[in-house]
Subunit: 149 residues, 4 copies
């Protein structure tokens, strides 16, 4: 995969409080960056989190996260968080996420979410408006995307 395969990118700047004694971002904070990217992805496809999802009777829980560290982000770096939906199942789906500093890939990973009933925590089918929004957005080639930022 390459950076050009993502229609969606959100830029953020590394904060002082996120950098550790090794002068690099603490490994856990990348999941905060993933989360910020996913939030903006939802907004861009017209399904702002969590209201648009809760209003469909759904509640999403993180099921699995994978992170590969290729190079280190440092204080004050501008990081581009690239997000796409890589797989849609019956009750779960997967985000593919890559973090770049310019053209350099720093971190790649994935987040799998499952739709579960808030009380029983039993898995439930994904709402069609959500999966439709994913498909509509991802079906457009990157170069067609007016939503890129």
């Amino acid at each position: 995969m390459a950076r050009s395969d993502f229609r969606f990118t959100h830029r953020l700047r590394v904060r002082w409080s996120e950098v550790d004694k090794q002068d690099i971002v603490f490994n856990g904070h990348y999941l905060t960056y993933f989360d910020v990217g996913v939030t903006e992805y939802y907004r861009t496809i017209g399904m702002p989190y969590p209201d648009a999802i809760v209003s469909e009777g759904a509640d999403l829980y993180a099921k699995k996260a994978e992170i590969e560290y290729h190079a280190s982000a440092e204080y004050d770096d501008l990081i581009d968080v690239c997000v796409r939906v890589a797989r849609i199942g019956r009750s779960s789906f997967e985000f593919r996420i890559e973090l770049y500093r310019g053209e350099e890939l720093l971190v790649s990973g994935s987040l799998i979410y499952v739709n579960a009933h808030p009380e029983t925590r039993k898995s439930a089918p994904l709402p069609a408006p959500l999966t439709d929004a994913f498909k509509n957005f991802e079906s457009l080639a990157p170069e067609e995307g007016g939503a890129r930022r």
Copy 2:
């Protein structure tokens, strides 16, 4: 004030993710340490947060925080968070908090909380069981305290 003026102490260890490029704890994280100390203080006086307070119809909001930085906590340090209730008003009260590494004072400060109605956010009198618990605990001299840890 001296360390011996506090009946209550809670010990914690500085985490890697809390230390910044200057090799010291980021200034904002001390409010997390304050919060951990306050949580354990509530537990010790028999008013575990938030259930014991909510069950009295109260909801506490931070109104003001003050922090003075005397010396820096570093990675892996064992820090003693000393907490006492220094003032009790009609609808608000103040924690005095001091952080020590051994006998060295690192940080001192205060937190003022106000009881407010969760919906209207208008201030309301503090529940008597809470103020009674504060007074009972603080009225004992430190040397009488079996609850110190």
Copy 3:
């Protein structure tokens, strides 16, 4: 003071990970917002932190923080962090900081920093290029400010 008294404003968005069970930003995270605002302030006045300050032989340490909580920031809110230098002393200075959601004041406070020698931690005079940059920036009326963003 009013929002219009600040020449400098930096906008940020509240992250999911910064909001607690009360559905509001945890009280300690506002110091992270203060820090982000201060970082961007330094960049705007031409003294990017920490390189421009270290290269003057200085090392700044937080000495005191004060925070007043007027109203709560919530998830996904856009917050304007307003920063100005309110006082310049021999070896220390004070930032005045106010956080707004639109025209609503949420949080106000101050941060006092002292210049100290990295090894001895003894206070030292502030470098003239830093105090000059403060004075130049703040002496312009807000309406003259091309740097506002």
Copy 4:
């Protein structure tokens, strides 16, 4: 794998600032718990991080993290962080980590670290004193372990 397969356990309590609007620990904070567990593991095997490792000329970088979320940790929960070294390679090794609340498995995962030269970031063989410490500790059956806590 079962909880009894781990010789090492470290207990921590979920902090208020770690819990989000869904009333559960934010998914990224589990990597902070992993890191706390790993720090205490290093201390227990006699290789306190980072001094004992740096003094061998090594510098460890996170290479990969995997996290599976089985159930949610909530505010004030006591969590047992179980850590073991599951694989030792030439220049890298893997921690297997499981988080329990009592006997209930909440989160499982792994962290792969690589030894790299601080300047060149090229991978380098793991120092023998480190791999020896891993092997000595893990070779003892859990029931023999006096270090368990």
